[in-house]
Every structure is written in structure tokens, then in C-alpha cells.
Point group: C2
Chain length 560, copies 2
């Protein structure tokens, strides 16, 4: 009888179910179901308008889509429900929702359904800008000990700003909420009947550190007296590392999701972080880069080190027994998508159509023929701010070196190069901090789809890049967490590492750096660094002033 | 009987003839004839390939097109040939050609027709980069007195680098050339039978100063012993100010061009500079801005002052009796054209088409609705280098403040704003040098065609901009020079000023600055200045290094 772990991957637009055979390590089935309501960023399901910068989700979408995806995965694989032996869950974060003590979302109660703050706030909800700014200012002033674990900056997408926004703007919702819970923890609670907090989201998104716990009531009271008991009252449950079992699937959940009852469920994990075991990495020294709309750089270590360049350092945050480091670029694929939508001329689009090729592929084909440095362009990849060593959301993108001869494929390539330069800054910050990066594995949507991007990464980093042989490293990682939870034997880091190495995706191919290109890119990187340090440090008030001017001008008039 | 002055305007692609009634100051006839051979930038008429960066013209095109344009102008106006009382000629510069002592172009002789260096080098021929660099290096080292008249830099488009290129690459052509002559002076020679040098091209493009004459044989010999006698042997003829008569139309020329014999012909003038009287400006205090693919800023003064911000300061260079200052931006309309061709997305083009509107107008319409500062963008308008206060051709364009929300009309507007910021830098440099700018008149293709651009100039400069009521200020200026040459009474600056005021184009409308927009633009301009000073001065090696990398990479691989 086959033994399979189920990975449930809750993304921004859909839920995915992946069946991983834990004997053969093969992906044997997959199902995807979009969320019927999508992202709620204009209206509530009941019609109420939402402010700009908001992004909500519908909790029933999560459960319904998961059930459909599981059904589809089982049907497609030919496996039987009874073959499933464990479940792992990954989820976007911070995506918190206010719930009752019994775990019922407030937004599903008639009384609260028309109240926007009663709904889950999706990770990319940006309504809590002011709260984040005040949290950061006070934390810096008081030198709060948690700051060092986050590169000195609390993100506006994290739990505390979001919850505080609820308190300030809808105190009745805040009062009615017995808990504020991450979507991933809520799902695991639904599956197991047990309320816990996964160490990953608690650490990376809720300011929890193994050493100091959650932020102190004194700090919270200084922010807002009403917030003083936030963690104590509304963020309860044991902290559990991903890969440790929270409990077993209840009969009720078994019926709802089409699972066998009684199989173990791992603590949840943030989606990107699941990519680490998904890519077969369970030990220090290998950086996993998840390349999608944005990027994450994840590294395991036995040591905690503090330096500029990571966004989060969490004990047990990725895999039990290791410190997990996270860095990231706020926009990668999003920059290329912006370029394609907003700045590729009609002539290029027409040429791609005439050649019967996808626009991305067409441009990449043209860009691949260019010699390094030949365009005279260098770009800064800060179209969504910088969330690595500079940790500054008010930074913005730059394109420098434009001439009347500049062609579209040159700009496209400069943008690709910029994201690779951004990764080099991150990698160098790790190495400088004494955290060796011996190998790099790339996974995520772009890793397999954009060979030019990966070659540029190899050339610019001067290191080989291994491409993970799976399109579903994240969902696969979730399945692996399930498998780990099902094997109580895997208690020691070495056991975890061995299990992950066996179950994770293999390397599909190794992209090797071209030393001649690398020599040119070393010179270009020196220029990138100068721009980086100038606009990100010495003269960062320039971009801040531009943002201030834009904010003062109010929302843009909308076009034709 | 009507009395008309004929303005002959020799541009890059065509010759134009304008008839100006010197009693009523009305433009009564116009003719345009394209050059049959256009710009020779790929091949000679005999088929020989030309190197990259070359641009030549065909001298027979000039005479043929002029004759056709004159015929068309007379025919369209109903005027008779006998109504013409004077001729003025403006010409691109430096557009020199090697000729025999009798004025015959070498390129029209069978012996030299296949030799690229025998042909006229159009102003935008960029083949003499190395010569220009060596001239500049030596002139700086020797502190040559002419340098101060050119903002410290000799342009690669000027006469000496072009002639030296001929000497170095085709010494036989150099030896066979009795003269190197500007196209404008050659035309005037053809018309009058008299060889002269117009003070405008001699001053702005051939390093002639009233005080020091041409560069010394000692300096030339230090460049290249063969070049020592260049000016003495090959640049002969009296220096004559535009507006002064060189002579009268010869019977031969009368037959060739369809003109009455015996009417006076003014010394030639550079095309842009003819825009000053064309716009009705004949006295100090009013800056004329010619806005086209590039821009020229021209100001008359009774005083010679030396400061960073002008490209040329020439006694009698624009109008007799005045010092003429010239500044300029290397690319203005060219930047917008580049943007439209290379970076406007298909969706915007499609929307413009659907609305039945020109793409420029469509974008300008969208951009006009934006609030100042709302895009968070600021650009540097150096896509063709900077030829005003920084005088650095290795600088390049910058777009800063990009986000994932940046829209095409925001980029378009930022590029327009950047050119206005560039003009503000120039105007401020004049004012700081004690040269008052009391009024600004804009003319040229963009002045009437792009109202948004002119409003941005007014808002950003914080000054009203007067738009000249003529599409042909340059050709009209040439006609006015003819009229001045026909009135020997106009000898004193005050007489010149009065005649120009009477014959120049009126102001069509005054664009008034919006003080609220101005307040935002003062803040944006402060940022522009910081970028300007950083990339143009403190850290200019960044853009220089980008150019060096591009040059080292060799010519780009071309398209599909």
C-alpha cells in the first residue's frame, strides 16, 4: 500500500493539494482550486466599498478550495483516501483573521459580515501603514529586543500593525475577537481541533522570538493602552515548529476535507518557507531562493547572528532544530510583469505575435543575445521598496544610463540584472556575517521558466545555481512537513536533514557562471552598489521626498 | 510694389524658402523641398559603405532643393521674382565641406566621389570622437584662451575635429581641399561669388573669437604638425556678421536659383540662431528658446561674461553689435520621440487609435490630468549627454521613482518635466552670472504643438513663456537677416533691434505659471538638482563607467 503525504498550499488566488509518495519521493497527484471570491480589494461580498490598499480574503474560500483540490489530486493520481498518512499546510502570511474562542471567523457571523475589519487581512493588505510606522518608531526609541531579529524593521504586512489597525478603526471588532489567528493556524485548528501557533508565522510575522517571546505588555501599552494585553489575550496556543505534529485529523475535518481521520497534521508554515524542504534542503550552507512575483532567500544555520541583510531570524522557524534566516526582494517577477504591461512598445508585442511567441520569451530571446554591459544601463530593483539590507519601503526603482539608442530588450535585461544584483547584495551580507553560502538552489515560478534570469544570477553571483526539479516546491515542502510530523523518529536535526534530502525535489540542472560575463558584471555590480548605497543610505531622503510629494498630491486621476 | 525678403533655411532633411513682406511683416509665401539623397548615413551615392556614426550630405541637394523651394514659394504667394529685395541664408552647422579654391566641392569631382571624406559632413556626423577628445585634452592642458568662450569644451560636431578627422583618415582629400567651408558660407559664395565666413558658425563652431581670432598655429601644431596651417590655408575669407551684406546675387546664381540679380545677400547664420530675430528678439534681456529635437537657448547682451552654462559666446554671433550666448539641451523632442517609439505600451497605442488621436496628443492628454509630483518620478534629460552647464557627452538619462504602479503617462510627463528642469538650470546659470533674463520666448516645432510642455516650462521656471506666432521662426529669421543686409542704415544696435522687433514674429499667446504647481515643482527641482550635481559632478564616473562598459562590449547585436 502506498503511503502519501498531503501538502496543502494556500496561496493568494487558489489552494493547491499535492500528493507526495513518501517511499518513492514522487509527486503523484495534484489539484488546484481557485478561491471563488478571489482577493477582496474593492468590495466585501456584501457590497461594501473597501479603502485603497486593502486586501482581504474569504475563509470559506480556503476550506472549499482545499476540499476541491484534495478531491482533484486524489482523483488524478488514482490514489485512495486511505493512502494518505499525513498532512502539512503552508499559507501566505501574515494573513490574520479575528475569530471567536471556538475558532469561528467573525466575518461569517451575520452581525459582522458588513464590517471590513471582521474579514481576514491578506498578507498584501497595506492599510496599516501608520500603525507600522508608529510601531517602528517606538520600538527603535525603546530599543526593543525583538528588533534585532527583523533587521531593525517591523513590516506593515505583519500581525501587530494589522491587529492594531482593527483596534483603532473598529474597536468593536477588536473587542469581539477572542483571537487573532494566522490563516495557516486556523486551518490546522480546523483540521485537528487544536489551537496552536506555528513558529514560522509567529516568528517571521508576529514578533515572537524563542528568547524573548512576544513583545512585552509594557511596549504594547506605550503604543496604545488598549493594546497592552493583545498577545496575552488574543494570541494564544502553544508555539509549534513546522514539521512537528499539532494533532490528528478529526472526524469532522475528515468529512469536510475528504481525508482519513486520525492522520497527523504538521504545524503550518509560511508558503515561501515550505520551499526549503520542498527543494530538498534540510541542512545549513545551502541558500534556497524562491523566485516568483517577489523573492525569498532562506538559509538554515545552527547559529544566530545579527546583521543587516535579513528580514527575519527565527529559531525553529523553517525546520525544527535550526535557526531560519529569511531575506527577500519585495518585487522580482512583479517588476518584469510591470515592464511588460507598462513599457514594452507595440512594435515588440507585434513582433512577438508575428513570431507566434509569448512576449516574455520573445523579449528574453532578444535580451539573451546582448553582451553584458553593452546597453550602458543599470537599474535598481526597488519598484516595491527594498526589504533586504536597507529595509525601506519608501525606496523606488531606478533606470540609469538611458540614451536615444536604448532598446526595449536592453531595458528588460537591465531589470533582470538588477534583481540578480539585489540577490548578490543579500548573499554577500550573509557571507560577511560569517554564514557561509556554499550552494544556491533556485525554485519557484521563474526558476524554471526564465533561463536567462537564472544565467544572469549565476554570472552576477559568480556561483552555480541549482534549479529544483519541481514546479511545486512549496506544496511539496508542505507535504514533507506532514511526513516529518508523521515520523516522530525525526527529532534530531540530522534526521530531519536526511528525511528532507530524501523527500525534497532533486536538482534538475546546474547553471554554471560564465567567468567572462562575470568580469563585466563585477564592474556593473560596483556601480549598482554605489547607487544602492547612495539612494538607500547616504541620500535616501531623495526617494523619501518623492514619496512624500506623491502622497501629498493625493490619489492619481485615473486614465481613459 | 511689394518688397520681400527671402529666407533660405537649410535643415537636415530639406530646404525651405520663406517670403517675408518687409512692409507688412507678413509671411506671404513658403516652399519646402526635401533633399533627394536625404542624410547619407549608410552609403555614399556611389554605394560605398559608411562607418557607424557617420552622417553626410550631398551639396547638389542643397542647390536643387533651394531652387525648387524658391519656385514653390513664389508660385504660392503670387509674388513676382522682382519683388524680392534681399536674401538671407540659415544653415545647420557645423556642416563643412572640402572645396577647391574656386568653391567646387571635391565630392562632385569624379576623382573623389567614392571617397567618403570628400563629402560634406553633416552637423550630426559623430565620427570625430577621438579628435575632439584630443583637442579638448590639449586645449585644457595648454589653457587655450578660446576654451572660456565654449564653456570649456570643444564639441565633436565642430569644424576642427571634423577637418582633423579628414587629415588623419584621408590625407589626400585634406591635401586636395583648398578650403573647408561651412555649407552656409558655401551657399552664400554660390549666391554672391564672394568667399566669406559668417561670424555665427565661425564663432560657435570653428573656435573663432573676436579677441583671439582662430586657434594658434602653435596649438594646432601640437595637435598634429600637419594641422598647423589649417586655419591659415584652408579657412579663409572675411568674417562677416549675420545681417551684414556679403554681396549681391550674381547673374549666374540668379539663373540657377530663380532670383533677381543684384539683390543683397546677408552673411549666413546657423539655423537655430536665426530664430532670435525670427521670434522678434533683437535686444538683450529676452531669452529665445528653440524647442525641437534638441533645444537652443539664445540670449543677446552687450557684455561678455564667462560662466558655466553656455556652450558658446560669440561677438556679433547672432546679431551685429551684440554678444550672443548660446546654451542648449542635446535632446528634447528626441527624448519624447524615443519614449513613444521604445517604451509606450501597446495598450496606450491601441487606446489612442480607438480614440482616433495622435499618440503624442493622447499621452499628453492623460499626462495633463496628473497633479504635479503625484507620480513620484523624477528624470534626468541626458539621453544624449548634457551640453549645458555640465558639458559632458558621456552622461545619460535617468528615470527615478519607478514603482509597480507607475503608468505610461506618468513617465511621459516626467520626461517633459525633466527637459523643463534642464532649462531652469540654464536660466539660473545666466541669472547667477549677472545676465538678466526678463522675458522668455519659445519657438520651434514643440512650442506651438505641445501646450503641456510649455505649461510645464512656465510652472517649473516660475515665469511666463511667450509663444512666437510662427511655425517658421528660423526661416523668418533668415529673411530678416536679408532685410537687415538690404538696409545699410541699420548699423547701430538700436536700429537693428527696432528692425527686428518690427519684422519678427509676434507673440501668439503668453503661458502663465501656476504658483501652486510651482511650489511643488520647486521641491521636485531641488531633487533634480541633487541628481544633476551627483551624476554630473560628484559621481560622474558612474555614467562614464557605464559608457566605457558599453564601448568595450562593442556594437550591439541587431534585432530579430
Amino acid at each position: 500500500m502506498a503511503r502519501m503525504a498531503l501538502g496543502l498550499d494556500f496561496g493568494t488566488e487558489s489552494a493547491r493539494a499535492l500528493l507526495l509518495d513518501i517511499e518513492s519521493a514522487a509527486e503523484v497527484g495534484e489539484g488546484v482550486a481557485p478561491y471563488p471570491h478571489g482577493v477582496l480589494d474593492h468590495n466585501l461580498p456584501t457590497g461594501e466599498d473597501l479603502p485603497r490598499d486593502w486586501a482581504l480574503q474569504h475563509p470559506t474560500d480556503w476550506t472549499d478550495a482545499a476540499a476541491r483540490a484534495i478531491r482533484e489530486a486524489l482523483a488524478g493520481s488514482g490514489a485512495r483516501r486511505e493512502d494518505l498518512v499525513a498532512v502539512g499546510v503552508d499559507f501566505t502570511a501574515s494573513t490574520p483573521l479575528p475569530v471567536t474562542a471556538g475558532g469561528d471567523p467573525l466575518c461569517l457571523q451575520a452581525r459582522w459580515a458588513r464590517e471590513p475589519h471582521a474579514w481576514p487581512k491578506l498578507w498584501k493588505h497595506h492599510g496599516a501603514k501608520e500603525e507600522a510606522a508608529r510601531i517602528n518608531a517606538l520600538a527603535r526609541k525603546r530599543a526593543e529586543p525583538f528588533l534585532a531579529y527583523y533587521g531593525g524593521v517591523v513590516g506593515l504586512e505583519w500581525l501587530l500593525p494589522k491587529a492594531w489597525q482593527v483596534l483603532r478603526e473598529a474597536p468593536a471588532v477588536y473587542a469581539a475577537a477572542d483571537r487573532f489567528l494566522e490563516g495557516g493556524d486556523w486551518l490546522v485548528w480546523r483540521l485537528t481541533g487544536r489551537e496552536t501557533r506555528n513558529a514560522c508565522a509567529a516568528g517571521y510575522k508576529a514578533l515572537w522570538t524563542a528568547r524573548h517571546g512576544f513583545p512585552s505588555p509594557r511596549f504594547l501599552a506605550a503604543l496604545d493602552p488598549e493594546l497592552a494585553r493583545f498577545y496575552r489575550d488574543k494570541v494564544q496556543g502553544e508555539i509549534v515548529a513546522p514539521g512537528r505534529a499539532v494533532g490528528a485529523v478529526t472526524p469532522l475535518a475528515a468529512a469536510q476535507f475528504g481525508l482519513p481521520a486520525g492522520i497527523p497534521v504538521s504545524a503550518a508554515v509560511i508558503d515561501a518557507h515550505a520551499g526549503v524542504p520542498g527543494a530538498g534542503v534540510g541542512a545549513p550552507g545551502t541558500m534556497v531562493i524562491i523566485l516568483g512575483t517577489s523573492s525569498c532567500h532562506l538559509l538554515l544555520s545552527r547559529e544566530a547572528r545579527f546583521f543587516a541583510g535579513f528580514a527575519g531570524l527565527v529559531a525553529d522557524g523553517i525546520l525544527p532544530g535550526f535557526h531560519g534566516y529569511e531575506s527577500g526582494q519585495a518585487a522580482v517577477g512583479d517588476i518584469f510583469a510591470w515592464y511588460l504591461a507598462q513599457a514594452v512598445p507595440a512594435a515588440v508585442r507585434d513582433a512577438a505575435r508575428a513570431a507566434g511567441r509569448d512576449l516574455h520569451d520573445h523579449l528574453a530571446g532578444l535580451a539573451a543575445r546582448l553582451a553584458p554591459g553593452s546597453s550602458g544601463l543599470v537599474a535598481l530593483d526597488w519598484h516595491q521598496g527594498n526589504r533586504s539590507v536597507l529595509m525601506d519601503g519608501r525606496l523606488s526603482g531606478v533606470l540609469l544610463g538611458l540614451t536615444l539608442q536604448t532598446r526595449p530588450e536592453e531595458i528588460y535585461r537591465a531589470l533582470l540584472e538588477a534583481t540578480a544584483f539585489g540577490t548578490r547584495v543579500i548573499v554577500e551580507s550573509y557571507v560577511a556575517a560569517g554564514l557561509p553560502v556554499e550552494r544556491i538552489v533556485a525554485c519557484g515560478g521563474l526558476a524554471r521558466k526564465n533561463p536567462l534570469l537564472m544565467q544572469l544570477h549565476a554570472d552576477i553571483l559568480g556561483r552555480p545555481i541549482d534549479i529544483a526539479a519541481s514546479d511545486q516546491t512549496v506544496a511539496r515542502g508542505a507535504a514533507i512537513f506532514g511526513a516529518l510530523a508523521a515520523e516522530p523518529a525525526a527529532r534530531e536535526p540530522a534526521d530531519v536533514a536526511a528525511a528532507v534530502a530524501r523527500l525534497g525535489a532533486a536538482t534538475e540542472r546546474r547553471v554554471t557562471p560564465d567567468p567572462r560575463a562575470g568580469a563585466v558584471y563585477d564592474r556593473l555590480y560596483a556601480l549598482y552598489r554605489r547607487l544602492h548605497d547612495h539612494f538607500g543610505r547616504d541620500a535616501r531622503e531623495i526617494m523619501h521626498e518623492l514619496r512624500a510629494l506623491a502622497a501629498a498630491a493625493g490619489p492619481p486621476a485615473r486614465g481613459d
